[in-house]
């Protein structure tokens, strides 16, 4: 007997989880406080990429990229899929050595990549600054438009009988039940909270140690310049910036979009909940991008915005059952790679809810590890 499921949150993770469980045959209800994709997803870049920050992150990004790839033929156009690949850009010899090691690590695990020297890098991306040492091209990475992904996943869920309730805020939830802000109490065989940063405050019984860290990010998008940029570009020192403890940092990350526009990131701020674009941070972010792409300064910026990444202290998401609270699962804390890891997350949740064999070892993402975060508080 399959459980009736309530998914709280219709961002990319909630949408993927809802689809996976609906396809599995569960009766799925999605409760969304605003509208699908209205949180972090709507502000996100949308890269599908493999990352080697840790073995656990590698496995989840790898599984997810394979799952996305399996949908490329059917969904590619609707997702504005760009098979652009990623180039990790090395500024100097030291970073190029990092690139080489990363390539070797990928190769051991069966993912193709190609080391680019100074000349090859310029040939791959003519707008990059002269003097960059090289880079690592990962041809299998892609870029998609996240709002379209949310829509397709939810449409898939609905085709398998799911219902989506937008504008339906949840007050709190526990094992096997959800209470709406209007007072309605809804029972369910399984409740999965995929509410991003709002997740901790929705838990009727708090999970000791659970803390999500909002990491504010700025993005800017240009007018249309088809062909100006060919790959997603990321500076190799990106992960230093992404996971560092500096209260504010910027790192070079740009993406070519299917429209010909260029999406420019990135910034990370740990000490703010201000939902507005900060000119000073935007300035640093664009200046950083222009160090790598000098002619970027001449491109026209149409729009800038900010979002908040739901991060965890150990840089891994929370995916799995809540200890001591039967019929309650979390799927949150994906920081800046929720789009990249949504399908793998959904596969893990499906296996856990239905008692199937998991597609990969779920231990590194388990919720019980938050007990160890108490020290961080």
């Amino acid at each position: 007997m399959l459980p009736d499921v309530i998914v709280v949150g219709a961002g990319i993770v909630g949408a993927a989880v809802a689809e996976a469980l609906a396809v599995a045959g569960c009766r799925v209800r999605v409760l969304e406080s605003a509208w699908p994709g209205s949180g972090s997803t709507g502000a996100a870049m949308g890269h599908l990429l493999v990352l080697d920050d840790s073995e656990a992150q590698w496995r989840l990004t790898r599984l997810s990229r394979d799952l996305w790839d399996a949908r490329a033929d059917q969904w590619g156009a609707a997702l504005e899929w760009e098979s652009c690949g990623t180039v990790w850009v090395a500024a100097d010899g030291e970073e190029l050595e990092l690139a080489r090691r990363r390539g070797a690590w990928f190769a051991e695990r069966g993912v193709a990549s190609e080391l680019l020297d100074q000349v090859a890098l310029r040939a791959a991306e003519p707008n990059l600054a002269a003097g960059l040492a090289g880079g690592l091209r990962v041809p299998g990475d892609s870029v998609i438009y996240p709002p379209a992904a949310v829509r397709l996943l939810l449409e898939g869920a609905v085709r398998h009988g799911a219902t989506i309730a937008a504008g339906t805020p949840v007050k709190r939830a526990g094992g096997g039940w959800v209470e709406l802000t209007n007072g309605d109490r809804l029972p369910a065989g399984a409740v999965i909270i995929a509410a991003g940063l709002a997740t901790p405050e929705l838990l009727a019984t708090p999970v000791e140690g659970l803390a999500l860290i909002p990491k504010k990010g700025h993005l800017a998008i240009t007018d249309r310049y088809p062909g100006w940029l060919r790959h997603q570009l990321v500076e190799l020192s990106y992960l230093k910036s992404a996971h560092g403890s500096a209260p504010s940092s910027v790192a070079f990350n740009v993406q070519p979009r299917a429209t010909g526009q260029i999406l420019i990131g990135s910034s990370r701020q740990l000490d703010t909940l201000d939902p507005t674009v900060e000119p000073a941070t935007l300035s640093r972010m664009l200046a950083r991008a222009a160090t790598y792409l000098p002619r970027l300064e001449t491109l026209t910026i149409l729009r800038t915005w900010v979002g908040f990444r739901p991060a965890t202290p150990d840089n891994l998401p929370l995916i799995g059952p809540v200890p001591g609270q039967p019929r309650l699962w979390l799927a949150t804390g994906h920081e800046g790679i929720g789009v990249a890891t949504a399908l793998g997350t959904a596969a893990l949740i499906r296996a856990s809810v239905l008692g199937e064999a998991p597609p990969l070892d779920p231990t590194p993402y388990a919720v019980d590890r938050v007990v160890g975060w108490m020290a961080h508080a």
């Binding site: 509208w35 709507g42 300035s283 640093r284 200046a287 991008a289 222009a290 300064e297 910026i301 149409l302």
Partner: protein, 430 residues
């Protein structure tokens, strides 16, 4: 990096902005006045390059120059750096402008409503064709229909006729009774009545219709034929241009970026034209559509207040109240009728920048969701065209303005000199 500063910075050199700059300067303030156009006067006092500006514009600008007001022409404020510090794009590059006080005189935009064929070349905004004609578009001998709503239609029709155009008709969506009541109320405003009478005199011979609006524009690659509805009848015209406008919408983007409260689409101000943000004032159409007389009065009050004068002169205060009553009657008389919502069909383009059709939007209940899903309003114009239309069609709020208010280069958004220096030395250091 160019940085300027002044006691009072006035954004927009139309009637409200010019009046504000004069009042502030005459109160002893050092004033900077910015405008996107090459010359002061705003849309309403805009002139062909070889013509004299109208007398009131000339007079205000003479007084402004006399008091040392510094005009920054072709300068578009696109962002707020910090409190009372603006960023603007100008021919020489981006500038930072620090202000003791700011007066927002950002004016209004025309509201276009989508109907089948409205994106054909040859269909213009009413104020738009006027501006284009002043900068060189040939209208003499052209067959032109003027349609939509509001007194602007009459002014544009008279202008086009003066330029030698053949104005085939004026089609006003409001009911004859409503317009007649409004015209009657002009008796309370002798100055406006004289203007209106002069205008109507000029329009002699041009058929005018009420309860009438465009339903369909057709042509092969260019506007050739227009069908209008007059009451229950449809009429068709062969024509060259359509000048179309469905009223004016206050421009509030900069006010919102500064954090000022905006209600019902207009910047909220008090008796001294103060917004809800300290040292930020607003005047003219940005605070509600009221016309040129109202703009000049409000500008004078705002400029004096921004320069530190405590209370508006009682005479100005009284005149403003009268003008605001006029503005309310104007809004009531030319309220858009609900039938206009049915003009837009599923395959009618709503967002020209991103080619979004109405049918793609109607499945979404939430404006932000629709915009994100379809990119409606996310192109170069950032919703300035489709925003007011969708506000009427769907009741959707206008897109929330963000930095940059207009498209600018990435360079213009790099504000801190150290950011750029860091960029320049980055690779040498590493």
């Amino acid at each position: 990096m160019t940085e300027l500063s002044a006691d009072v910075v006035v954004v927009g050199a139309g009637p409200a902005g010019l009046a504000a700059a004069v009042a502030a300067a005459e109160a002893g303030a050092h004033v900077i006045l910015t405008d996107e156009q090459p010359a002061p006067g705003g849309q309403i006092w805009r002139q062909p390059w070889d013509a004299q500006p109208p007398a009131p514009s000339r007079e205000l600008w003479r007084r402004a120059e006399h008091r040392g007001v510094r005009l920054l022409p072709e300068t578009a404020v696109f962002g707020v750096q910090e409190a009372r510090c603006l960023r603007a794009a100008s021919p020489g590059g981006a500038v930072t402008i620090r202000a003791g006080a700011i007066v927002l005189a950002t004016g209004a935009l025309e509201r276009m409503l989508p109907f089948p064929g409205w994106t054909l070349p040859g269909v213009f905004a009413a104020g738009g064709i006027q501006a284009l004609a002043k900068s060189g578009l040939e209208v003499a001998g052209k067959r032109i229909v003027v349609a939509g709503s509001g007194p602007l239609l009459l002014a544009v029709a008279a202008f086009l006729k003066r330029q030698g155009a053949v104005v085939l008709g004026i089609f006003e969506q409001a009911e004859a009774m409503a317009v007649a009541r409004f015209a009657g109320s002009l008796l309370l405003h002798p100055g406006k009545l004289r203007q209106a009478a002069a205008l109507l005199g000029e329009l002699t011979g041009i058929p005018g219709h009420h309860s009438a609006w465009p339903v369909r524009a057709e042509g092969t690659g260019w506007l050739e034929r227009l069908t209008v509805r007059v009451g229950d009848q449809e009429q068709s015209f062969e024509l060259d241009f359509l000048a179309c406008s469905f009223g004016l919408v206050p421009v509030t983007g900069l006010a919102e970026l500064l954090g000022c409260r905006v209600e019902s689409g207009a910047v909220v101000v008090d008796r001294q034209q103060r917004t809800t943000v300290p040292a930020v004032f607003a005047a003219g159409e940005a605070t509600g559509i009221g016309g040129v007389d109202s703009a000049v009065i409000e500008g004078a009050i705002a400029g004096a207040a921004a320069a530190g004068s405590m209370d508006p002169a009682p005479s100005l205060d009284r005149r403003r109240n009268r003008e605001q009553a006029f503005a309310r009657r104007l809004a009531l008389a030319f309220r858009l009728r609900p039938e206009l919502k049915a003009l837009c069909e599923a395959d009618t383009i709503v967002c020209r920048c991103e080619d979004v059709r109405f049918g793609a939007l109607i499945r979404y209940g939430d404006a932000r969701e629709a915009r994100l899903a379809t990119r409606c309003g996310m192109g170069p114009c950032q919703g300035r065209m489709c925003g007011p239309a969708l506000n009427f069609l769907r009741g959707w709020p206008l897109p929330r303005p963000a930095l940059p208010l207009i498209p600018v280069t990435a360079r213009a958004l790099v504000t801190d000199a150290t950011d750029r220096t860091a960029s320049a030395t980055f690779f040498r250091e590493s």
